[in-house]
Every structure is written in structure tokens, then in C-alpha cells.
Amino acid sequence: MIYHPSAMAVAVFAAFVLFTLGLSFHLGRRAMSAQGYFAAGGDIHWFVNGVAFAGDYLSAASFLGICGMIAFYGYDGFLYSVGYLAGWIVALFVIAEPLKRMGRYTFADALDSRFNSRGIKLAAAVSTLVVSLFYLIPQMVGAGALVQPLLGFPHWVGVVLVGAVVIAIVVSAGMVSTSWVQFLKGLLLVVFSTVLTVLILMRGFTAVPLEQRGPYGVTSDPAQWSARDFSFADATLLPEEGDWKRTSWLRVREDGSGRVTVWRVVPGEASVRLLRCQTLALRGGQRIVNGSPQSASNDFSPVGTLERLPDGRAATGALGPLSFLSTLEGSTVVLWRQEAVRDSDGATTVFYPRLTLGTEVLLPGNQPAFKGIRSQNPFDKLNFLSLMLALFCGTASLPHILIRYYTVRDQAAARKSTVVGIACIGFFYVLTLYMGLGAMTSGAIDVTDENMAAPLLARSISEPLFAIISALAFTTVLGTVAGLIVAASGAVAHDLLGMWLGIAPGDAAVVRVGKIAAVMVGVVAIVLGILFRGMNVSFLVGWAFSIAASANLPALVMVLFWKGATKRGVTASIVTGMVSSLAWILLSGDTYSKVYGWPAQDALVPFSQPGIVTIPLAFAVLVVVSLLTRAKASGG
């Protein structure tokens, strides 16, 4: 869709950016030492740290990705919410206190606290960089997706803008400014998501008829109807050719305008009707939408409606939190799917409406990545099980989350801030279901872009709310990216260069190196954010969780709780977890189809999510190598 920039959104976002930059430069003098720069001096209050946890964790994936996935596929997006939140249980009950006790600046400190091993430091630092970069990609993609409606600039401008602002925030005051930016972001995100949810409930649902031809009374089995059964007074049917032969779509040339439109054949019990589809094709570098060049007057129609409410009502009025869900379950929802069609003119993407019962929308298994849930073959379910395992284990392994345990005074503060974080994050994830379903039925969704569902939902309610939510989504990216860049720069400056260049951990030189590293990581993130444009941000974050859970969690848990762990065992576990999960992802069907553009069935691994294989593998490698190297040491 073509978006028109909102001056109010620009003003709100500019105000937030100026405020955060001013705050960052003001706090700069508190970040002169390594302790100040990388850990905010350990002086952040536990409540502020807890809300900052939410600001750190509730990334573009949570806000844009989950809302978008729920808006397009229903309950499956909420599975991410449940999995992301469950991961905090591991963080609180298993990791928080011992990590705080054993580390100083980075999670490599805790891993290496018993060993003083260069191998562990190196492996943990590389792992931190890899996970941070994989997590940075979806944040930057989200930034690019937002800048179009917000400022009217191209995707790459949004990526560069976010990258530049975050680099300035991190370089000026490191973890001090990052903490306060994340606190503000977390607070605003929860507050305005609550406001948005209340407005969704107050609006309720309205039934909207679809653009259609028919219904046509049947003279034979409706399911067998094809192009030869139709004739129109105002349009001419085009001949079936190429992939069009095997589809249940008709192409029609309208007599008046000459435009070619596409219609989906939907058989009923005693009739057949045609529902209007939307198409996108690239011809000679030009985007052709619904048969004509894309322009302000010829653009995609916004989608996302209920076709039928329970009892045939036209509208519900305000609903409560439970009646909202039960009403949706009793309705017929119009979800949109897409499919590529090839003919002699080239490829065309057809976006077609799919009438779906509300009961199905609120069950798992609609999203393509989750389709194995509904398969009769138990092997097909491994992808889903693997993802849910990675989400459960991944949170407590994310470097930018782990370093936040060093910004508070003691273990009690680490524990209490995690409880506050769980409260904020859990509440937000409950809201995601309402925001996603609200977007699904808002009549405002861009059929070509899942990530825009939440801001467009806000626009369907009011322009000022759209301005605030868009600006907030942009700042969502700022807060998370800042945390990731601090974590990555800490790994480079403290763990890698500090070790190899012999810089003392508390040395001011570490801070200088950290700032240079922050700039470099920020630039890399900008480039990747431009290259990965168009991918669902929640899907990409799933990769980061899998790598983090495979590379970091086994090593962390075993170092904290198994006295038999050796430095070689820990190093081998990190390397094995990281390399195996990364290799699995790069050889998976999802990456084949969505990144390389190759057929998914040619992939070399049987399912896309690696966690169910690579997490146990990393545990096993740690135990085996530790037993072998300990026995060797004892014997030698």
C-alpha cells in the first residue's frame, strides 16, 4: 500500500528521539568507567530495571510481529506470546541470582568465573555477537517497515535513522542511557497498548460484506464449477493459461475500464459466488496492482473484516474481554492468503480472501510454520515442538537480557526486577491477542505487509492514536537495538579485545574500544536490516532464540549447577550449539524459500527449527567433553 506520512507521528517521534538523545548526553558523565558504561554502575533501581527488562525484551518482534501474525493467522501468533513469556521462568528461577553473583559486565564473565579460560571468553563473545546480530536483523527490518507510514521515506531510510540514533544513544552513555530509554519505552508501550485494547473492546465488531459477484444458483455440484460455467454482462472471461488452469480463480477483463481483475470461486451449499482478489505483479520495474500501475488512485484495498456476526447481527457495540473472544469465535472472519501464479506474462502474486470460522481462528495450526500441528504424521510436529522449546530456553540465553542483571545492586534486586519484568511483559502479551484480533477485524490491514497491522489498527481508530502508536513502535526498535548493541560491544571490547590486547577490565580504554565496537555493530545492523527487508520480524527472532538457546543456555546452566563442568567442555558446548543451530537454520526449508528463493522441499534438514536437536546436543557435548577432559587431567 502507498502510505501518506503523518505530521503528528513525525512530531511525536521527533520529541521522543530528542528527549532520549538529550537524556543520553546528560547521563554521559556517569558512563566514563567500564562499570558505568557496561553496567550503569550497578545503580539502577530494581523497579526501573524491571520495566527496562520489558523495554529491552518487547521488541519489534513482540509488538509488530506478533500482532501481525495474529491479525493474519489468529491464535498461532499468540503461541509466540506464551513461549516468549514462559522463557522468563527459566531466567527468574534458574539463572538470575547465580548470574548476578558470578558476573560483572557480560555473560561470558559468569561462564568464565570458575575457569579463567581464553577459549570460553572467545566462544562466549562470538556467540554473543552472532545472537545479537540475528536479533538485530528483525529490529532493523521493523524500523524500515515503520518509516514508510510514519515519515513517508523508503525502507532503508528508516533502518539508517534508527541505526544512527541508537549509535548516538549507546556511544554517549552506554548502559546508563540505554536503561532509561528502555524504561520509558517499556512504560509507554504497556500504557498505550492498554489504551488501544480498551478502544478495540469499546468499538466491538461490525459485519462488512465482501466485494463479490453472485451468488449464482447452481445447476450442478458447486464444487465442480469452473470458468466455463460463468458469463458476465459487463466483463469478459480471460482464457485459462499457465498456472491459472490449476487454480480456483477467474480472470476477468472489465468492459468499461479494460482492467483485468481476479475472482475466487467460492462454492456454497446451493450457490456459487465470486470474491474479489487483489494482485501484485512486477512488469518492467513497475508495480502493477490489480491490473494497473500502482498509484494513489489505484492501490491495494485495506482488508481485515468479519463477514458474519453471530445471529446475523450487523454490529455488536462495546464488548468485554471475554465476550470479545466468544463473539469472534461465533463469527465468520475473512482472512487473506497469497499465492504466486506464473503465466506467459511472468509471475503474479494473488492475495485472496478465505472465509474462516472464528472457532478455527482461535485454534493452533493456521500459520504455515505451524501447519504440522494438524498433520497426522507425528514427525511433522517436530518443527512446532522445537520452536516452543527454543522460546522457553532462549530468553535466559539472550545476551542483551543477561547483561541487565549487572545493572542492579544485588541478587535480591535482580530477582525483584525480574518479577516486575514478568508482570509488565505478561500483561503486554495478553494484550497482543486483543490487538492482533482487533487488527484482523479492523478493515485497515495492508494485505502485503504483516508487520504494519498494529499501526494500521491504531489508524482505524483515530489519527492521533496512529501517530502515538507508530512513534512508539519506532521507539520500541530503539530500545531493543540499544540493548543489543551494548551487549555486542561489550563482547567485543571486554571479552575479545580486552583479552587479546591485554586491557584491564576496569580500564577506561575498554570504554573507548566499546564505543568504537558499538559504531561498527550498528553499521553492520543497518546493512543487514536493509538486506532482510520484507521478512516477518517474529519469524526472524525465532532464529535468534534458537541460536541463543543452543549456544548459551546449556553452558550457562551447567557452569552454574554442575561442578564437573570443565573449560574444554564449556567451550565445546558453546561452539557446538552455535555452529549446529546456525548450520541447521541455513540449511532449513524456511531459509531456502524465504532467503535463497529456492524450493523448500530441497532443504537438507527435515524441519526448520533446530532447538529440539541442537539444545540437547550442546548439553551432551558439554557432559561428554567434560568427563573426557576431567578424566584426562586426573590421569595425567
Binding site: 491464535y75 503461541l79 513469556l85 494438524r374 514478568i422
Partner: protein, 92 residues
């Protein structure tokens, strides 16, 4: 009986493991139901809402309840050892 900050840390860790195990069982059941009996998630209803949504909300609520319980139990342990949970313990 808790006699030192180190003992307090061990006690807190034990409490954490027990609560972790409780949540793990509930979470694993949820994931198992979704994977192997997804139609059951639409079967049971309460207040017009299906089991899939109720269970999802329940898992989020349970996480907060267990987190609050853990904090309360840890504070009770800390009260028995005044130095527990502070920087003094880190130094020990």
C-alpha cells in the same frame, strides 16, 4: 537449618527449582496438547472462551503468580539470614 549466606543461596535455588518444575509441567502439557491433540483445545469452554485461549492466559498468569511466590519465599529466607541477598553475600 539455614546458617550462612551460602546456605540461603542454596535454599533460594531449591525453591527456584521446585517452582520451575511446576511451571515446566504445565507448559509442557500445553505444548503437548497443541501438538498432539489440537482439537481438544477447542473442546472445553469457560465463559464462552475455548481452552486454547484460557490455557494461554493461564500460563501467563501462572508465571506471574509463581514469580511473586518465589520472591516472597526468598524474602522469608533472607529475613532469617540478614546478609543474604545483599552485596555482603556476593563477597562471601
Amino acid at each position: 537449618m539455614i546458617g550462612s549466606p551460602g546456605d540461603a543461596a542454596s535454599s533460594r535455588a531449591r525453591v527456584g527449582f521446585v517452582l520451575f518444575a511446576v511451571y515446566l509441567v504445565v507448559y509442557a502439557t500445553f505444548v503437548g496438547l497443541c501438538a498432539f491433540d489440537w482439537t481438544a483445545m477447542g473442546g472445553f469452554r469457560l465463559g464462552g472462551v475455548n481452552l486454547a485461549v484460557l490455557y494461554g492466559f493461564g500460563l501467563i498468569a501462572l508465571a506471574l503468580i509463581l514469580a511473586l511466590l518465589y520472591d516472597r519465599l526468598c524474602r522469608a529466607i533472607d529475613l532469617r539470614i540478614p546478609a543474604a541477598g545483599t552485596r555482603d553475600e556476593e563477597a562471601s
